[in-house]
């Protein structure tokens, strides 16, 4: 029982995650795929929780499965049959799986953490009623989407009004998600965030051993490790430094600084890889941003869309398509997702 999980993540709030998700949803349906939906945050509301500006709504059709807090279902103007309680609680109530029986807009408030998303995925996979689970992200959050096999990254003016800054950041993100995959046996370390943990890791690496980091990684930890191994000799050759997941690295700090640290470590000797992680299928760009007018007062504003897309594409390279969903339409993004589902694009996991 395998259910592909595709996450829509953003580099910040209002970068176009839900727009990308609704485009994929529309295209997946048009191409005959059965879809399940959830969110790691709160989506489908009429107005943004912080800015008060209008948000894209999520429309579901009869037959779609949704994973959301039960009170959100009850508030959504649609028909539904309750299928299961996931045994996961959210800030808005228990997470349930329901089948949509009549179309309408849905409010999605799904699992806030990775294990919760894992439980929902297993439940949906066991039902064998969906070909794809689409997961909407929230803010710039990534961690729960460590469960996904594919990601669409949304960036845009809400993150920065400088396209160059956005391009550099997305480049770093795509590089980190493209780190080599290895499943090597080695010593397991819980975290890489204290000097003691870094010292242990440095000794093991210098001894040619593989070190797998399972938990928290910090920029300071990466810097300490680099400083320590820069003064060491590796008699039998350097071991591999493995991370469970690229998201672990991204949580350490800004993507560009993490990538710099990765390059520095690699240049000092150890091989650097991740055990698993999703493939980045596409990057979407969104010229819209909420311009801050005063305390908690925002107005909708836009960057030059062509310039934004071109600059981001320059940095991302030709391997990953850059799409402005509003201007380009949903078809291109739909094709990318279908190629991935059909195995025409390899998943690195």
């Amino acid at each position: 029982m395998y259910l592909p999980v595709l996450g829509c993540v953003g580099t910040a709030k209002n970068t176009g995650k839900t727009t990308a998700l609704t485009a994929i949803l529309q295209e997946a349906r048009r191409r005959g795929y059965r879809v399940a939906l959830t969110s790691i945050g709160y989506d489908g509301e009429e107005l943004d929780n912080l800015t008060g500006l209008p948000k894209p709504r999520v429309e579901v059709h009869a037959g779609d499965l949704v994973g959301t807090a039960r009170p959100c279902l009850e508030k959504s103007p649609l028909g539904w049959d309750l299928l299961a309680d996931c045994g996961v609680s959210t800030a808005l109530g228990p997470l349930v799986v329901a089948r949509v029986t009549s179309p309408g807009r849905v409010i999605l408030a799904g699992p806030a953490h990775r294990r919760g998303l894992g439980r929902l995925c297993r439940l949906l996979a066991a039902r064998q009623e969906s070909d794809l689970l689409l997961v909407d992200g929230a803010f710039g959050r990534l961690s729960p989407l460590g469960r996904a096999q594919g990601l669409v990254i949304s960036t845009g003016a809400a993150r920065s009004v400088d396209p160059e800054v956005l391009g550099r950041e997305v480049h770093a993100l795509t590089r980190l998600f493209s780190l080599p995959r290895h499943r090597l046996q080695g010593c397991r370390l819980r975290h890489l965030q204290s000097e003691d943990e870094c010292r242990v890791a440095a000794r093991l690496l210098a001894g040619g051993q593989t070190v797998l980091i399972l938990g928290m990684v910090t920029l300071a930890g990466l810097a300490w490790l680099a400083d320590m191994i820069s003064g060491m000799e590796a008699g039998k050759g350097w071991g591999w430094l493995l991370f469970a997941h690229p998201v672990q690295l991204l949580l350490a700090g800004p993507a560009e600084r993490v990538l710099e640290m990765v390059y520095r470590l690699e240049s000092l000797g150890p091989g650097l890889a991740v055990v698993g992680g999703p493939a980045i299928l596409a990057v979407t760009v969104n010229p819209f941003y909420p311009r801050l007018l005063g305390p908690n007062r925002f107005r909708a504003a836009r960057l030059d869309a062509s310039q934004l897309k071109a600059r981001v594409a320059e940095h991302v390279g030709s391997q990953i398509p850059v799409i402005d969903v509003k201007r380009d339409g949903p078809e291109q993004l739909g094709q990318v997702v279908e190629d991935w589902l059909l195995g025409r694009r390899p998943s690195p996991t």
């Binding site: 709160y42 989506d43 800030a91 929230a138 710039g140 959050r141 949580l251």
Partner: protein, 612 residues
């Protein structure tokens, strides 16, 4: 029941408190104290740590819960989301349950940021305790399941001032004798409308024809689809969309409790002209602590025989009292608020009471003295209609207030109160449940006589003191409190309303009606936000006073005695008149010079051989 009231926790939890804020951690200190009192082991981190530092601290022990406090703005929401991500990435979730509290936090935002719970402003520490102990907490739902209070339940209606009681009773019996066998187009229409409610289609059509013969040409034209200027029908699609927007099925969760479990009950008055806007205002006001609403009908209805039909918006004053408008309001707002439909001043008083009862109103409003001297209706006509309406209200078990707003026109308080008491005595003879509604404001009489030169407390207090000495009956000052005291400045208006509410609470009255802060300058449409201003201000004053009270000076006693003497004198003078009706025309309850102007609408329409 909140967790903190159930004794010690069943299992001690390890709790980490993190003020993700440069300075403020008072809320968390309060929570720490409550949690420790219940036997939990609590660590409070210093303020101004980064998300990484908090995550490292969370890794340092086997915590069950992390409570984070932070005022949420655009940037800090990102920081909070990052913290949730770090905790998950570090493998701490879901063993570590995480909640966020602070200004602008709501459960929806907490879910979006990746937290298990979110506590906004005004959340009691017990909610955080309940979260830690994994117990349900029903703060909002207490209000949700609140039973609407019966304002009359605890009163005997016993006359305490034997003289005033006897004179008012004599007047009442005179009014009843005068009213015997009277009928008006208003009473006849009420009989027809009552019959229509249970009639079949054919019979209803016949009754409708008969009804139209008793209606003004303007009302007949409206029934035939010729709407006057300022009037617009609301279509089915617009109606359905409005119901959806107004939160059909969204539940009712007051954000600010102004009067729960205590008196006075706070009413707002609505009458924007648009039933959708009215319902929206009521829902907003309910969520900000109002417990009751008052339907304001247009002056147009007071001067025309018969009520229009249909879901109608009206861009002049007040909202049409059509059954469709009333039913829409009830459906859109649910059954959470006490609801008064006024029937006190025009040519449709009995019919309005029928529709009020038929559409689920909890209260109505009847006073022929005010309605004829301050509302423009002929005294004889309104007295006959009011008698019929009071019989209906008694039959329906519908309490009604007897307002003394003729004071706003300059009628002295003792005359207005005397008129009110005669009506109250009549209502009691009919088995109805009247509510006393003294004016609680800077009235023209108070201005002229200097009653409020010293303060705004004594004169208002004197009215309540005097009424308490007269009769054991519910008191609902208004309407609204602070009227004419308000200026066009919003803060002044909110403060004035709130202070009057505080005085009303101190005097232990049963209900108050409050104005929005823009009523004094809008001269028309008012905004929901301005209602919230007043409700918030009232809530703050109730909180400020708590069990304490505003204390009048000894002058209030003196003014109360003066008022009692005036009331007694007025009642005696009225008894000298051939009838109560004659007393109204003669100015006993307020003459033209004082501002009591007998109205002309419906003059000559009372018959003594009618079918009613």
């Amino acid at each position: 029941m909140p967790a903190s009231e159930t004794g010690a926790a069943s299992r001690a939890r390890r709790v980490l408190l993190a003020p993700l804020d440069p300075v403020h951690d008072v809320g968390l200190k309060l929570i720490k104290k409550r949690l420790e009192a219940r036997g939990h082991r609590v660590t409070l981190l210093p303020p101004d740590l980064t998300a990484e530092e908090i995550t490292r601290a969370a890794l340092g022990d086997h915590y069950d819960c992390l409570l984070v406090s932070r005022t949420v703005g655009y940037e800090s929401a990102e920081t909070l989301a990052h913290l949730a991500d770090l905790l998950d990435g570090a493998g701490l979730r879901p063993r570590l349950r995480v909640a966020v509290g602070g200004m602008a936090v709501r459960p929806e935002l907490a879910a979006e940021m990746g937290y298990d719970a979110g506590f906004g402003p005004g959340t009691p520490p017990e909610a955080a305790v309940a979260f830690v102990e994994e117990m349900p907490f029903h703060h909002g739902e207490e209000a949700l399941s609140l039973e609407k209070p019966d304002l009359c339940a605890r009163y005997t209606y016993r006359w305490k001032d034997a003289h005033i009681g006897r004179w008012a009773g004599e007047l009442a019996r005179g009014i009843l004798a005068w009213g015997e066998g009277t009928s008006t187009p208003g009473t006849e229409r009420a009989v027809l409308v009552r019959a229509m409610l249970t009639a079949d289609e054919v019979e209803r059509a016949r009754l409708e024809e008969e009804y139209l013969r008793l209606a003004s040409p303007e009302v007949v034209a409206m029934r035939q689809g010729q709407l006057p200027a300022h009037c617009r029908p609301i279509g089915q699609e617009e109606r359905d969309r409005a119901l959806e927007l107004l939160g059909k099925g969204r539940g009712w969760r007051p954000l600010v409790a102004t009067g729960y479990d205590r008196r006075p009950v706070v009413f707002i008055q609505y009458g924007t002209g648009c039933p959708v806007m009215d319902a929206l205002h009521a829902v907003v006001a309910g969520q900000w602590g109002a417990q009751g609403t008052v339907h304001f009908d247009p002056a147009w209805s007071a001067r025309h025989e018969g009520l229009p039909r249909g879901l109608l918006a009206w861009s002049a004053d007040g909202t049409f009292c059509t059954p469709e408008n009333l039913r829409f309001f009830r459906e859109a707002t649910g059954n959470h608020l006490l609801w008064q439909v006024r029937a006190h001043r025009g040519l449709n008083t009995p019919e309005t009471v029928v529709w009020a009862a038929a559409t689920g109103a909890d209260l109505t409003k009847i006073n022929p003295v005010y309605g004829s001297l301050g509302g423009g209706t002929d005294p004889e006509r309104l007295l006959a209609d009011a008698l019929f309406a009071m019989r209906l209200a008694a039959d329906y078990g519908l309490p009604f207030d007897v307002v003394t707003n003729e004071e706003l026109g300059g009628v002295p308080a003792h005359k207005a109160v005397a008129g009110m008491l005669a009506v109250v005595a009549t209502a009691l003879e009919l088995g109805a449940r009247p509510i006393l509604q003294p004016l609680f404001c800077y009235s023209p009489e108070a201005m002229l006589e200097g009653y409020m030169d010293q303060d705004y407390v004594d004169w208002n207090a004197a009215k309540v003191i005097a009424l308490r000495r007269i009769i054991d009956a519910p008191i609902w000052p208004g309407a609204p409190i602070g009227f004419l005291t308000h200026t066009e400045e919003r803060v002044q208006s909110a403060v004035t309303t709130a202070l009057h509410a505080g005085l009303a609470a101190s005097l232990g009255v049963d209900a108050i009606t409050i104005a929005s802060t823009d009523e004094a300058y809008s001269r028309g449409p008012i905004t929901a936000a301005a209602r919230v201003d007043s409700l918030r201000a009232v809530g703050e004053v109730f909180r400020f006073l708590g069990e304490a009270a505003v204390s009048p000076t000894p002058r209030a006693e003196h003014l109360a005695e003066q008022l009692l003497e005036g009331v007694a004198a007025t009642l005696r003078e009225a008894l000298q008149q051939p009838s109560f009706c004659e007393a109204l025309y003669a100015g006993v309850f307020g003459n033209r010079e004082e501002g009591g102007n007998p109205g002309r609408a419906g003059k000559g329409t009372v018959s003594r051989s009618g079918r009613a």
